[in-house]
Symmetry: C2
Subunit: 366 residues, 2 copies
């Protein structure tokens, strides 16, 4: 890279990112399902346009503000994959005037309030807890689900679209077999529900989409759409749980070395919690890390450096532990490239990406 | 509070914050030490002006960018409490043209490079590792320290000021006794160094300053300045380790309730990793939390709600666990006020504070 970097910089390998997008778009096509990628990871109109080049016209976001940002950027079919916040109904209603807006419902009182305050029509998915144990109705509580569907049916401005789930428990898996089990279990729960309701609602849709199952599984033909997000860049956690290879990781954070403590095999970098976020990953050996280090190369970065990790972080400092040979090979002022544990929260700390030829790509911070 | 809140909002109780500032300023005066507060916690010119009202004229920051921000806001004596990053010497030099700038040195090669490139004079503290085991020279390696001092003495543009340490190991304490032990141990290490070098450098200064020791200890007369930062707001970790009372906590994040799962004693709020940051606190019973919940009150917030915690977070979701009575007392659309674990990283995720009368106070995001 030929442009100057003087402080922590979020680097983006455009080719790897575009390849990740293409691979997922092709997988969706092979299963004949809608590819409705989650844009919460990149939060960038320009990166969004790379999805459009792969035929994507429908997207997922995680907040009303993010929906507005992408709607202003020309996206016209948006799912807000977050339970409707009744304090934002006015903003939801205004947005529904100009785009096809899909929202998530699970609470009967929210459904009622939403309908009472809407002037425009929104589509609604009922959020089902398919294993993540966060939001959503339990898949075996068919009466609770029926009650919300009936309430939607009686509404003036809400159209029932189907069931949506997020098998986020896949992040706790440690290998492909475990991830495939989550895929089977989570989609089976939605399929049983569809079977239960199909006579009354023959067109109901099933929507799933965490990056682990979408990266590892091949067949999604049992559902109607997938909504992965992290795959656009991948990160240390995705690499650890076998959802990508080293070559797929499209973002690193370049950080200057500010001190080297040879006697402790430690390097201090300018790069900390306000650059990588504070997300911890516990490795199989029990040690906790805040990111991996990759080799520098003329054009971006190469492979992981064996045994080199970010082991401790403060607000601006990162402490790297490394074998003696690595320590001997670097100097104060060199750049260290870090793969953060969780790219969604790390990228959220930057206002822009820098491509390998030094171009800035802006992203929205909410 | 009478102004509308519809999404996660960083609230600031101006009176509590000003009282925290006044209390620390008075403590510094009683010990007759310089109060050079760390501004990395609030990162706000307006909050900075509240320190000025207490007589503060010298400040600490954690990056060159932050130094520039406060210099543009009229601060003229600034310590960048981070090892000099040689890739930013140009920006350091330009800043040193207009303000009294104090930097941290520990590496001989950095010292040499800095002097070679500077056109203006900077003051330098040598960073000593007084227990935090992050950056700095070991206090017992007197020869290493002498080598850097001598290099500074031979420099054209660097003036040696003294020794600076950060006893960040105080954050791992769990009670006042442990914190006082850290205070004694860390200041003793600096005092021994001063004793060693006092014949050659009779005016050398000692600078310390983590919030735990500065909050708990009373006597700082053995050093020359204190640099605490977090005390301006306090947070869940500071409360846990007995550095403040509930009444001192000056910031909370107001978050709308979007779902209530009565059968699981859980509440889902709009508020997650991009609002509280991902910092974990492990309680003495071994459970990990992401923040406490306080009672709502007409003007701000009241006491902690017993047994109510943020127990899990995603990018935008927070999951709260609470006793049955609490669950029964709230509704979808109510606001929950969260005390984040670590206010420095949480506040860093917002562009502004909102005071209890609805006024916005901007802060810089780097």
């Amino acid at each position: 890279m030929t442009f100057p970097i003087t402080k922590p910089t979020l680097l983006l390998d455009e080719q790897k990112c575009k390849a990740n997008i293409r691979r997922m778009a092709e997988k969706a096509k092979r299963s004949n399902v809608e590819f409705r990628p989650h844009f919460k990871t990149h939060q960038s109109l320009e990166i969004g346009s790379w999805f459009r080049s792969e035929g994507v016209t429908k997207i997922t976001v995680s907040s009303v503000d993010m929906a507005w940002y992408f709607a202003r950027g020309g996206w016209t079919d948006i799912t807000i994959a977050f339970p409707v916040n009744i304090l934002e109904i006015e903003a939801i209603d205004k947005l529904a005037a100009s785009v096809t807006l899909n929202v998530l419902l699970e609470a009967p009182d929210t459904t009622q309030l939403l309908d009472a305050k809407l002037k425009h029509t929104v589509n609604a998915f009922i959020k089902i807890n398919i294993g993540n144990n966060r939001a959503g109705l339990e898949p075996d509580k068919v009466e609770d689900i029926s009650a919300v569907i009936e309430q939607i049916s009686r509404s003036r401005h809400i159209a029932f679209k189907g069931f949506l789930g997020h098998a986020g428990n896949s992040y706790a898996c440690r290998n492909k077999e475990e991830i495939l089990k989550v895929h089977t279990a989570s989609t089976s729960q939605l399929l049983e529900l569809k079977d239960h309701f199909k006579d009354d609602y023959p067109n109901l849709l099933l929507s799933v989409g965490d990056t682990p199952t979408c990266s590892v599984a091949e067949d999604f033909s049992m559902v109607d759409e997938i909504r992965p997000g992290v795959f656009v860049f991948f990160d240390a956690i995705m690499l650890n749980i076998t959802c990508c290879t080293q070559r797929d990781i499209a973002t690193t954070i370049a950080c200057p070395i500010v001190a080297i403590h040879k006697e402790k095999n430690e390097i201090i970098i300018y790069g900390g919690r306000v650059h990588f976020a504070s997300d911890i990953f516990t490795q199989s050996n029990g040690s906790q890390i805040f990111g991996y280090i990759v080799e520098n190369s003329d054009n971006g970065w190469g492979n992981l450096c064996d045994g080199v990790f970010v082991k401790k972080i403060s607000q601006e400092h990162g402490m790297i532990t490394a074998p003696k040979e690595f320590i001997e090979s670097v100097s104060v002022g060199d750049l260290i490239k870090v793969i953060p544990n969780h790219i969604c929260t790390a990228a959220n700390l930057f206002t822009h990406y820098t491509t390998l030829d030094g171009k800035r790509i802006s992203r929205f911070r909410f």
